[in-house]
Symmetry: C2
Subunit: 143 residues, 2 copies
DNA sequence: GTTAATTAAATCGTACACAATATAATTGCA
DNA sequence: TGCAATTATATTGTGTACGATTTAATTAAC
């Protein structure tokens, strides 16, 4: 077996599938005026509002170089506010605005719309997710 | 179950894992002076040299907006040459240079080094790959 | 055989990613 | 207390991604 063959890589289908899934989100998220990474930040904030930039980064595995400009764009859209924490002025606290909270309702149907587009059964989706999460945990917890 | 919860998404672990795997490639590819997408293009060319930009794009699911600048960087590194096809002057033919062919030998150990870093058995790697490929085919062949 | 439609790359603009560095605030310790 | 190390975010530079448009070449229809 040729290990350098594109067909024999794990990395390539992972990379390509990730982009294809993002592409399937695009038309759905366009209606919310969100990009896919912005949507992930909103998902996190809808769960746990009032987080620091680094707390968001820890969860999404993104650094300030990515998040700072992204959060500024969400701020410009009026979905979040960014305020320096008074307890620790190094931290910037990200909070949902009313508009940001309202958007959650518009986003409520996105997951099932996507699952339909991907043609996955609940069981398939859960299986794949668990496998990916396990591998992800393995990679991020090892050091 | 809350379908908008980050933990219940398939998309997020897919996106995060893809970036984490790329991060694990980075130190290995640094020694070849390649980025991860550049490495994928080289993998394709090592298999089938002398391809048009769109043929590369069809395989990697990337468009000319991504590939044109990437290929120009590979050209600057002396790994490929870009020449207008004489048969059809709309096409640009990408060919490995001698240096590009030689690089293949240096890259030969990358796949197993990566598999070690990911701590995957052969069986796990093959299983995951097949699952991802199946889903990828489903998404790209449906239209 | 000319023109309209199509195709292949390139270009432009916006938005990530991420390494490296800078800046400012906080903590820890001698 | 005073200052060195650490921490949190911001900034800069490079390299993807990708939609939209442009340009040039080819094909198709008449």
């Amino acid at each position: 077996m040729n290990r350098l063959s594109l067909a024999n890589q794990v990395c390539f289908p992972l990379y390509a599938l990730s982009r294809q899934v993002t592409a399937h989100y695009r038309p759905l998220l366009e209606q919310l005026d969100l990009t896919y990474p912005q949507y992930l930040v909103m998902l996190f904030l809808w769960e746990t509002d009032n987080q620091s930039v680094s707390a968001i980064g820890d969860r999404l595995l993104l650094d300030s170089g990515t998040l700072t400009p992204l959060l500024k764009r969400l701020e410009q859209k009026g979905l979040v506010s960014r305020t320096r924490s008074t307890i620790d002025e190094r931290q910037v606290s990200i909070q949902l605005t009313d508009a940001g909270k309202v958007l959650r309702e518009q986003a409520a149907t996105v997951p099932e719309q996507l699952q339909q587009r991907l043609q996955l059964t609940d069981q398939q989706a859960v299986n794949l997710r668990d496998q990916l999460v396990a591998l992800l945990n393995q990679l991020t917890n090892e050091e």
